[in-house]
Symmetry: C2
Subunit: 334 residues, 2 copies
């Protein structure tokens, strides 16, 4: 991440773009048990991968390393694990796997990242490609009943919607919150809420973003929407209104939250702790707000009336593994 | 203001407690035209005095000096006036009137403050007493139809309710927002929302806080409530919910906001600018949020159904003087 000299936030998007593909002769071939996904429950970009992994039933094929919510300038650390060490990779911080591959790695140490377990090196941190490859390259290891999140005939539309959502919403909340100049903030805020208004209209008449089933586009919007009222509304000054004040988006968010594979991957405590503690430059006291009351996420959403088949011809995933089971809804009290 | 060593906010309440009284032999006798009220539209404590002055029709008896929303460590300044000088007092900052009276004045330079125009010295900044004296000492100069805001038979109840509101709500939002330690924040937040829950219940069945007419207690609650969603919810981390999410308090707030003498004294732009710019230690970028959409304050509240007589046997005040006319409701767009 970086802030440009004119006070606008600009994300460093220079990722490691290696891919794990369904080709035994590739540098990184699909191979169950070989790779470990490093994620953090706090992070919306990592949350995409934990959702898709669960929806597709890739838990046994790709194991999961969970970093804790806070960290210093050395980036995400495995301080939730006994001894502060990931039990499979044997490292304290995800940067260790980056530096093992590139000793002078000059860019952001980010999650999600996929690590090659035998060599201990990072293969990729290209978050936008990781979930697409889960859908398209790992098909041989999908569970029975896995949904098609990136079906051929909808890819153009998914890509187009996802691009707008990336710029205006996923990254838009960061552009809004990390602006250090009023004009840059005003511009990012306007772009963000214009896009939310556009989404509100689109989702008034249809249950999901593209087609009549859950797709990659919904996963991408969800991870920002679910953190919006809990974090971005306050911390990033995205405060024209809460998502709970936009009827279609609020119904859509609750619908997805209550769908197996979505809400059960979300940990609000860790998300709040991450943003409010790590972003000391915009929250110098590092005090974490107790609110909001999040229980409304469990309330009836009525979106079934719009039709749609959440998993298409597939089925919902089973319950989450114990360690990944989240979704607690605070009432906003200490 | 001060922050104690354990990270809790403690307000300096050591005010200048002189009073202006209805006694020609007093040090400071009631005398129309002699005193100037120094206020700032941003400040909730000063807003009490501008509301009561308008409700009672004291505009001609007590003139008004309006400080701008932002200031440095020298406190409130008259930078909205031509040349940055109050045209009556001839000073740039309210501190000039404090220092004229006490050259080594060691305490907070606050508004509201009342200045004796002939001598140019501050008489009092005891905000809690100022509005009560407007009601009880300046009666000879009230307008025809002025309401009784502090009637004899309700004083005990008004005092009791106001004391709880002061500690838990008026000052409670500051205690919440200025906590630099999680435990102090948690405690203040809980006290605040417990009191808001108590008020929500009290105001579900009755239109006003005490009796069936507007009293001093309502004025005191209003100035914090009206700034809550616009400022405190985000800036002070008072984010269990917005006031607009508490049906009785939201109806009560809209009812008062739409009552002549209340909403027309409120300037949201100045309030937001004040908090977000002056409190640099908790908002280092000094970026001012564009939200929230405040237009709901003008929506029908339905509180008439609870009965009550807003002004008792009196009447509403006429329209505000031009310079004091505020109440613009932003839609949260740039």
């Amino acid at each position: 991440m970086a802030v440009s000299t004119d006070g606008a936030f600009e994300r460093d998007t220079d990722y490691i773009t290696d891919r794990i593909v369904d080709d035994p002769n590739a540098d990184w071939p699909v191979e169950p048990g070989r790779y470990r996904l490093a994620a953090a429950a706090a992070c919306p970009w990592a949350n995409r991968t934990t959702i898709v992994r669960r929806l597709l039933g890739l838990e046994d094929a790709i194991s999961l390393a969970f970093a804790g919510p806070t960290h210093d300038e050395r980036s995400w650390q495995f301080d939730l694990d006994p001894g502060g060490v990931d039990p499979v990779l044997g490292i304290e911080r995800i940067q260790d796997a980056y530096l093992k591959r590139f000793p002078d790695y000059p860019k952001g140490i980010t999650v999600p990242a996929i690590v090659d377990i035998p060599s201990g090196v990072v293969v990729t941190n290209d978050f936008a490609q990781i979930t697409l490859d889960f859908s398209t390259e790992w098909t041989a290891h999908h569970r029975a009943g896995a949904p098609e999140l990136y079906p051929d005939h909808l890819r153009d539309e998914i890509d187009e919607v996802a691009e707008s959502i990336y710029h205006d919403v996923n990254n838009g909340v960061y552009r809004t919150g990390f602006s250090s100049r009023q004009g840059a903030y005003d511009e990012a805020y306007q772009v963000l809420f214009d896009r939310l208004d556009w989404l509100e209209e689109r989702l008034t008449a249809q249950r999901y973003l593209v087609g009549d089933t859950i797709t990659e586009a919904d996963v991408r919007l969800f991870t920002t929407l679910v953190r919006f009222d809990a974090v971005y509304h306050n911390h990033f000054k995205c405060n024209r209104n809460k998502i709970s004040e936009m009827p279609a988006l609020w119904g859509y968010l609750r619908d997805l939250f209550q769908t197996p594979g979505f809400g059960d991957t979300v940990n609000f405590e860790q998300a709040k702790e991450h943003y409010y503690v790590v972003h000391k430059p915009i929250n110098p006291t590092q005090v974490i707000p107790l609110g909001p009351d999040l229980r409304g996420l469990a309330s009836p959403h009525g979106r079934e009336a719009l039709g749609g088949r959440p998993f298409g011809d597939g089925t919902p995933p089973g319950p989450p593994r114990e360690r990944e089971a989240f979704g607690h809804l605070s009432d906003g009290r200490p």
